[in-house]
Amino acid sequence: MAIPLRLINPLLGLVAAPLLLGIINRTKARFAGRTGQPLLQPYYDIWKLFHKGAVYSRTTSWIFAAGPLVGFGATVAAATLIPFGSRPALIAFEGDILLFAYLLGLSRFFTVLCALDTGSSFEGMGASREVTFSALSEPAMLIGLAAVAKHTGHISLSQMFLSTTPGTWLEWGPVSVLVGFALLIVLLAENCRIPVDDPNTHLELTMIHEVMVLDHGGPDLGFILYTAALKMWLLGQILVGVAIPVRSGNPWLDTSASLICMVLLAVLVGVIESSMARLKLLHVPQLLVGATTLSILALILLPR
């Protein structure tokens, strides 16, 4: 497919990612009986932050300034690897899932370093939790994707998605369900949503992601919010591509269908956040190991 058409995927992500947060917040507001913020509020927030000055801690070094840039760069690079609907990704090759996972790892590494750079004990605490939980969610994601790879016979995300059709649901539905659940847990954990982390709390002791970025302000915080939204979009795309494969043959139709699925996913996350409490931190590893177990089951399951 022509390069300009392939550019649609990452561009769509770059434009629409903050919308997911808006939908989640709106859903949560509805559950709480409130009207809630406008759907586009995340865009307004980011815009507002872009037009502020900045305060840097005297403790920090250049790492603190570089962190948001590297995080954004890595996430954008990851966005070029993700197909959307049946439209292949900008860059597709055998094993691109691995590059995707490790690019997110690079982004995380710099977020954690920025947190440690401030010398704040709260941020150190968040950083410590982040590396703990991500070390456990990584096997869940990679083994889950290996299961999909095994069943589709492809190890490039674009081809995996192309060969996942509603028909394959009949063939190996249980695998899709298991991997879908595992990826949902990974999505919630990686994006710091309930039940792993609460994006709304301002009690530093219980937070993970929010506490790591306490000292960022102004445009930097805007970049971080935007990168976080993009990451959520990307993981959502993988989940939707695996679990709800709508393949009509017309790429435009498929793209629209996938967009609708993304909206539904955001609503689902909102519902989960509204109906569940945050898990005790000590119980989060159990959840993530559970996700890994689901992935392992999916991999060793022999359909037919």
């Binding site: 037009h51 502020k52 000055g53 305060v55 840097y56 801690s57 005297r58 403790t59 070094s61 948001p68 840039l69 954004f72 760069g73 890595a74 690079a77 070029t80 860059i91 090759f93 055998e94 094993g95 691109d96 691995l98 590059l99 996972a101 490790y102 690019l103 790892g105 690079l106 590494f109 954690v112 370093l113 440690l116 750079d117 401030t118 010398g119 704040s120 004990s121 709260f122 941020e123 150190g124 605490m125 950083a127 410590s128 939790r129 590396v131 703990t132 991500s134 070390a135 456990l136 990584e138 096997p139 990679l142 083994i143 290996a146 095994k150 190890i155 930097d220 890994t292 392992i296 991999l299």
Partner: protein, 659 residues
């Protein structure tokens, strides 16, 4: 070959020269380092030539001893190991000049340089030797020279103990290797590698096990790794870099060489390598997480990386076993590329740790902090090494791990139950190792270099001298280059992989061309990363121009007197993970919690002793010594009776011979 021998001789002459110049530290260092650099640069030429054209060069000299012969050969496999050995040795030598100058008034530097050059000579000979006896001689030169370097600061009790453990461990390994070579050479009566006959499956199996234990002890396979966490922190830092970066790789070299001699691999060899690799990888990084000392942490990471390399070899061997060229090319290609990569980034990290140690006087993580502002170059290069060792793109560590991953993903696709289990183990281990390594290096870099200084040690830190900075920078540049140029670099592995797998060279090249195309895509994605980050940087500059940019204190929740001791420490950073995996780590904790309304002193002390040292080696050695103590009555110091023993033994032997 002339250049190679020339390099050897320069190293030897330079080493001896610096030994005799021992009273004048400046001259000794100059002679040792200059000869190490020129000798290495000379000897690396034939290695690079062999690597590029795939042709082996050999030399056989007559040898006056009854057994063995001086038979050396530089084939692609030897060349692949020679290049990092010589490269890192030269760079570490430059670093060593400045690092050792600290000891110029207390120590005889000539001795240190003599043994350094002997260590390089030993490693060079180990990878080119084609005769069992020559190999063992070279192996011992390497082991003893490195022992003498480990005990450089012998007056410190901890160093003495480390040297002792190393000496014992390495000789246990050598004992297995002697058995290996004797069994190998028994049938033909020659120890030359090119005369190894076809053998029965049982004998090949026994030989393989001997090689795994013998070479694995040097390489640092779990549970034979006990000497690494002692010896690496004890040695001077440039020696730690060479030992961890390349010397332990001679164990990997030996194992691969043994595989080429032993014939077609049965399935259990692959499974054994995968099991060892996965155990070494996961436990290595877990124990690294629990360490408080920077160099000890790095030593455990060597165990982890050896695990990754071994998994790569296991994948490659499985490819040979299953007749799958793609798999064997990816497995061996990834594993051997990781050998080179690990030499670069682990060398870099040990040299960086040495710079920190030299300027602050401590390697204790919880006493450091905020050094990046005082040592910007060291900080920057250590960060590059940390990214590389955590296997993050776009640096070199990612590429080799990626190749191994790709291999197992492809195995998993075949759908055979055995292959799926295999893929599950390797993917699960690599993913877990990746996550834990990220945690560990976030800790190592974050606690040492970022935040506020945690002690006066860290406050007095000063940037390392030019020679040390130069070495760090060169290695950091290699981390980047090996990552960005990986599509080209991987092609040079063609002849090596063809040699190990005995596949046709053309087929291997075709496979590697596919791999190279994939790696090109990774490089493109990396460029997108850089472009996106750079453009965002420009955007931020634009956004902030004309607005207020202030410096203030870190947000402290309104607390009035923030103190650097309130920062998270290395121990607390790793605590969730070490608790989670407490079953393996068995960390001993002694806590005296704050008590009462006005708490006075409180303390927390954690210590993680090595699992196999505590549960395998210590009990084993205690058993052996208690069993042998029953024979103590034989040894009483009376010379006349000892002569009687000798006479009796000879008498018995004579009777035995006559019968």
């Amino acid at each position: 070959m002339t250049l190679f021998l020339g390099g050897l001789i320069i190293l030897l002459v330079g080493g001896i020269g610096s030994f005799f110049a021992g009273r004048r530290p400046g001259l000794a260092s100059a002679s040792g380092a200059a000869s190490a650099v020129t000798g290495s640069l000379l000897a690396v030429v034939p290695a690079l030539r062999t690597l590029s054209n795939g042709l082996a060069e050999s030399l056989r000299l007559s040898w006056d001893m009854p057994i063995g012969s001086f038979f050396i050969e530089i084939d692609p496999l030897s060349a692949l190991f020679l290049v990092p050995i010589l490269g890192l040795s030269a760079i570490a030598a430059v670093y060593g000049v400045q690092y050792l100058s600290h000891y110029r008034d207390q120590k005889n530097l000539g001795v240190a340089w003599l043994f350094y050059n002997l260590l390089v000579i030993g490693m060079m000979l180990v990878v080119v030797a084609r005769n069992g006896v020559l190999f063992l001689v070279a192996w011992e030169i390497m082991s003893l020279a490195s022992f003498c370097l480990v005990t450089f600061e012998y007056e410190r009790p901890m160093v003495c103990r480390a040297g002792c453990i190393y000496l014992i461990a390495t000789h246990i390994g050598t004992a297995f290797l002697i058995a290996f070579f004797i069994l190998l050479g028994r049938q033909t009566g020659s120890f030359d590698f090119d005369k190894v006959p076809a053998m029965s499956a049982a004998l090949a199996g026994v030989l393989f096990l001997l090689a795994v234990v013998g070479f694995g002890t040097k390489a640092g396979f779990m549970p034979f790794h006990v000497w690494l966490p002692h010896a690496h922190p004890a040695a001077p830092s440039h020696v730690s870099a060479v030992m961890s970066g390349v010397m332990i790789k001679t164990g990997i070299y030996g194992l691969v060489r043994a595989m080429t001699l032993l014939g077609a691999p049965p399935a259990w060899w692959c499974w054994l390598l995968i099991a060892i690799g996965s155990a070494s990888g996961i436990l290595g990084v877990l124990f690294a997480l629990a360490q408080h000392d920077l160099k000890r942490l790095l030593a455990y990471h060597s165990v982890e990386n050896i695990g990754i390399i071994t998994m790569g070899l296991g994948v490659g061997l499985l490819g040979v076993h299953m007749n799958s060229p793609t798999l064997s090319v990816l497995g061996f290609g990834g594993g051997l590329f990781h050998v080179v990569n690990h030499a670069v980034f682990k060398g870099l990290l040990f040299l960086g740790a040495g710079a920190v140690l030299r300027s602050t006087g401590t390697g204790h993580l919880d006493l450091l902090g905020g050094i990046i502002k005082r040592m910007p170059w060291t900080g920057f290069t250590f960060l590059a090494g940390s990214i590389a060792i955590s296997g993050l793109p776009p640096l070199n560590g990612f590429v080799s791990e990626f190749l191994i991953y790709l291999g197992v993903f492809k195995t998993g696709l075949t759908g055979e139950p055995e292959a799926v289990i295999f893929a599950l183990i390797v993917i699960g281990s690599l993913a877990l190792i990746g996550g834990l390594a990220l945690a560990c290096f976030a800790k190592a870099f974050g606690i040492v270099f970022l935040g506020e200084p945690r002690s006066a040690h860290a406050e007095q830190a000063q940037e390392a001298g030019w020679a040390m900075r130069f070495s760090l920078l060169v290695l950091a540049v290699f981390c980047v280059l090996l990552g960005v140029l990986s599509p080209l670099v991987i092609k040079s592995a063609g002849s090596v992989v063809a040699e190990i797998t005995t596949l046709p060279a053309a087929q291997v090249r075709a496979e590697l061309a596919d791999v190279s195309a994939i790696l090109t895509q990774i490089v493109v994605a990396s460029l997108i990363l850089l472009a996106a980050a750079a453009s965002l940087g420009i955007l931020r500059k634009r956004l902030l121009s004309g607005r207020s940019v202030r410096r203030a204190v870190t947000w402290d929740c309104g607390y009035a007197r923030p103190d650097s001791r309130m920062q998270y420490t290395a121990t607390s950073f790793a605590q969730p993970l070490t608790d989670l995996f407490g079953f393996f780590l068995r960390t001993r904790k002694s806590i005296s919690p704050p008590k009462g309304i006005f708490p006075s002193e409180s303390a927390l002390h954690t210590e993680t002793q090595d699992l196999s040292e505590r549960y395998v080696y210590q009990p084993l050695f205690e058993r052996i010594s208690s069993a042998l103590s029953r024979l103590r009555w034989l040894q009483h110091g009376r010379l006349q009776l000892y002569v009687l023993y000798i006479a009796l033994t000879l008498w018995i032997l004579l009777i035995w011979k006559l019968m």
